[in-house]
Assembly symmetry: C2
Homo-oligomer: 205 residues x 2
Amino acid sequence: MPSSIPDIVISRLPVYLRALERLSHEGQEVTSSHELGKRLGISSAQIRKDLSHFGGFGKQGTGYRITYLKDQLRQVLNVERDWEVALIGAGDLGSAVARYRGFSNRGFHIACVFDSSPEKINKHLGEFVIQPLESMAAVIVERGIKIAMIAVPAESAQSVADTLIGAGVRAILNYAPINLNVPDNVHVQYIDPVIHLQRMTYYLE
Amino acid sequence: MPSSIPDIVISRLPVYLRALERLSHEGQEVTSSHELGKRLGISSAQIRKDLSHFGGFGKQGTGYRITYLKDQLRQVLNVERDWEVALIGAGDLGSAVARYRGFSNRGFHIACVFDSSPEKINKHLGEFVIQPLESMAAVIVERGIKIAMIAVPAESAQSVADTLIGAGVRAILNYAPINLNVPDNVHVQYIDPVIHLQRMTYYLE
């Protein structure tokens, strides 16, 4: 895999994969960069250029076989396998994340849930038994978990992240409304609805 | 307001604002582009350049007064006022969004919640009474609501978006795992945790 592919290209691949899964779900077998582009509001030239980084995946004029392209993108994104994910925080948001059914079939499943509140420990959250924060590092090391989702208050997020990273986590999806300081070999993505809303209000009069 | 400011600059302003709110919360009154940059993993030069689009907000060598810079960024982002937001979908995800306390003080409050399930209509969700989808357009027109969050299944998201836009909504935060087709004068942002996770697994071996 070429390592010089710009991150902005990588960031679009999951969006392509999601659109292909949707087309598949709708019963379609073949698509084109034109059709994908129309669905996604991206130019077909951009899509062809992005996919050409990985060999192209389609023949000129015949379009893309959806099953094949999905499989290839899954391989590129390393989600042809299933990743175990640790969830930290079992409040309102963490509970919603734990119950979200959209992870399976897209490469991820939550393997364990941790919280610091004594009254939550050993309670059930969906199919999970909530474990104490003190057990987190040991469980993550033992299971070799590399991915975690943080859904704790802003105040605790950095220390939770530090512990996760110390235990071997290399990718963090952070729902806490705070920026995390992490080493270069750790990836962080953020979900904060207010950030997204404020990006749009700029354009509203 | 200059209209030629790149969207990538706009996209960073809410992140700066969030960091400033955090510093304020911690009791700090003055900060620097260096300190902000260190917190955010962004170069101080980038921060100064971004802020210079709007006049700079700080004097060379004395740093930024946090209260002043917060106020200025709020004005730039149009969140010195409070926006009413409509929430569509009262399932697990919609319920978590409705209960999220992070909107207030950052420019937004949920004003109404809609769902299509007959068994949910007129039930309470936190402080809200869930209203039927059929009332959505009329309520949005009457209240002049411009912003909506979509938390319905992928299958229904486009038709919900079409109705919202017809009723005057100009900014949509879409939690449904599907791309929306919208006119040029409507802004859409997406929240899909799997997209974020897949962006990171590319980099994990």
